[in-house]
Amino acid sequence: MRLDLILRVGAKLILPFILLFALYVQFHGDYGPGGGFQAGVISAGMVILFAIIFGVRAAKHVAPPRVVEMMVPGGVLIFAGTGVVSMLLGYNFLDYTGFAHEFLHAHEWGILIVEIGVLVTVCGTMIAMFYAFVERGRT
C-alpha cells in the first residue's frame, strides 16, 4: 500500500472534492436533496478513505480521536441546546420562530443549526466506530 502511487495521488485528488461535496449537501439541504445525516456520513467517508490509503496514524492527525469522541455527544448537545434556546426566547421546545423577525428566515436558521448538530454527531459516531474497529485489529 505504501508504494501504490496511483492510488495515493488519485486519492489526494479526490479527497478535497468529497469534503466539498459533503459541505454542499449540508448547506444546500434546504433546496435540494441532502441534509445533516448524508453530509455527516459523506465527510466520515472521506476520513475513512484517507485512513485506508494513508494509514490510520495519518488519519488520526487529520481527525484526532479526542476531537472525534467530543463530536459524538457534541452534536446532540447542539441539537438539544437549540431547543432550549427557543424555549428561552418564549416559544415551544424546537420551535424556531423566535430566531429572526420573519417566519421563513427564522425557521431556516433553526433548520441550519439543527442540521449542523446532526452532522457533528453522525460524522463523529461513524469515524469513532471505524477507529474502534481498526484499533481492535491492531492489538
Binding site: 435540494g32 445525516f37 459516531t125
Partner: protein, 123 residues
C-alpha cells in the same frame, strides 16, 4: 387474465418486499454464522424501508422538493422516517458487529453451534 396481471403488477412492490423480509427471516433462523445473521437482520430492515416508501409514491408525481412547475408531490413523511431509520440502522448494525467481535475474542468462534458446544449453560 389482464385484470389478474394488472393486479399482480400493482402489488409487485409488496411481493418483493415480502420476499426480502422472509429471506432476512430465513437467514436469521437458518444460518449459524453471527455476521450472516446480522446481514439477514439488515435485509429485513431494508425490506421495511421498501414497505414504507412504496405507498408514498404517486405515479407521475415528483420528488418532494417544491418547484413552481409541479403540482403533485410524493408523500414526504415516510421519506423522513426512513432517512433517519437508515442512519440509526447502520449505527445499531455496527453495535451488533462490535458484540460479534467480543464474542469471537471470548469464544474463539462466531458459529452459533460451536459457541453452544463451548458454553453448555447458554443453551
Amino acid at each position: 387474465m389482464i385484470e389478474t396481471l394488472e393486479n399482480f403488477a400493482n402489488h409487485y412492490n409488496f411481493f418483493i418486499t415480502i420476499f426480502l423480509m422472509i429471506s432476512g427471516l430465513f437467514i436469521v433462523i437458518a444460518r449459524g454464522n453471527l455476521i450472516k445473521k446480522l446481514i439477514g437482520l439488515s435485509l429485513f430492515q431494508t425490506s421495511v424501508y421498501l414497505l414504507y416508501l412504496t405507498p408514498a409514491k404517486i405515479l407521475n408525481a415528483t420528488a418532494p422538493i417544491y418547484d413552481k412547475q409541479y403540482s403533485t408531490y410524493s408523500n414526504p413523511l415516510p421519506h423522513v422516517l426512513m432517512l433517519t431509520a437508515i442512519v440509526v440502522g447502520v449505527a445499531t448494525f455496527a453495535l451488533g458487529l462490535a458484540l460479534v467481535v467480543r464474542i469471537k475474542e471470548a469464544y474463539g468462534t462466531i458459529e452459533e453451534d460451536e459457541i453452544f458446544a463451548k458454553d453448555p449453560e447458554a443453551e
